[in-house]
């Protein structure tokens, strides 16, 4: 079953999840999962690596690695993005370096 972290919850540390993870709370640390969904109240400080998909609607400070990255209109992102597909909605606040790759590996920190 996928994980859900609501906005009254504060995590400090590294997360590994083989399933989908939805975050509406505060996370300080690295996140690795199959799919990561950051909701409007979500606040992430740390790198996010997702195999399939990252939906970003909250505030993220850190690097994002995923097949597909979707930045929603409420997203506030600062960091580097590596992706194959990138979608940015109108209204997203960004301070990013973005690069499209053919293959996304977990350790492409160059």
């Amino acid at each position: 079953m996928p994980s859900v972290i609501l906005r009254d919850t504060n995590l400090q540390g590294n997360i590994t999840e083989k399933d989908s993870i939805t975050i509406d709370g505060i996370v300080v640390g690295e996140i690795k999962a199959e799919e990561v969904i950051i909701l409007e109240n979500g606040n992430i400080t740390g790198d996010i690596t997702a195999d399939n998909n990252i939906e970003a609607g909250g505030q993220i400070t850190g690097d994002l690695y995923s097949e597909r990255i979707h930045l929603n209109n409420s997203a506030k992102i600062r960091g580097k993005l590596s992706h194959r597909n990138l979608v940015v909605d109108e209204g997203a606040q960004l301070e990013i370096v973005s690069s499209t790759r053919k293959k996304i590996t977990n350790n492409n920190k160059e």
Binding site: L6, R7, G13, N14, E17, D19, N43, Q59, Q93
Partner: protein, 138 residues
């Protein structure tokens, strides 16, 4: 930072956080509401209500108001109410204030102690006395 954090929607949260079976976490958890753990957690957990499900394993110190252990727990629990299900496994001390419930089949090794909560009460009665004294004096 160029981001401004808007502080709306800080009112009550509906529902509870759920950490799934494949969730692995190293670090601290601080939850002001309810949280349910089915994965593996290493680190201290603070919550209002904590439920460790049958597949859940928590290694660390737990501080909460209500704790329900249906899975594994290694470390001390400090809570007002503690409930341990029939498949619950505890390795550590239990400190509780109000109620401790242990179902048949639970596996516990550690100290079990009821904490006195008179400290808070005493300061309250002191305050009341002080207020009454002030009333009489004025």
């Amino acid at each position: 930072m160029f981001f401004k954090s808007d502080k709306k929607n800080q009112d009550q949260v509906r529902g509870f956080s759920h950490l799934g079976e494949n969730f692995r976490f190293d670090g601290e958890i601080d939850c002001k509401g309810e949280i349910e753990i089915a994965g593996k957690i290493k680190g201290n957990v603070k919550a209002k209500k904590l439920r460790i499900l049958e597949t859940g394993i928590v290694k660390g110190i737990v501080q909460a108001e209500d704790v329900e252990v249906l899975g594994h727990m290694v470390g001390n629990i400090d809570s007002k109410n503690i409930y341990i299900g029939n498949k619950g496994v505890i390795r550590g001390n239990l400190h509780f204030e109000n109620n401790l419930t242990v179902l048949e089949g639970a596996d516990i090794s550690g100290h079990v102690q009821k904490n006195k909560k008179d400290k808070v009460k005493r300061s309250d009665t002191d305050k009341v006395k002080y207020l009454e004294h002030n009333k009489i004096a004025s």
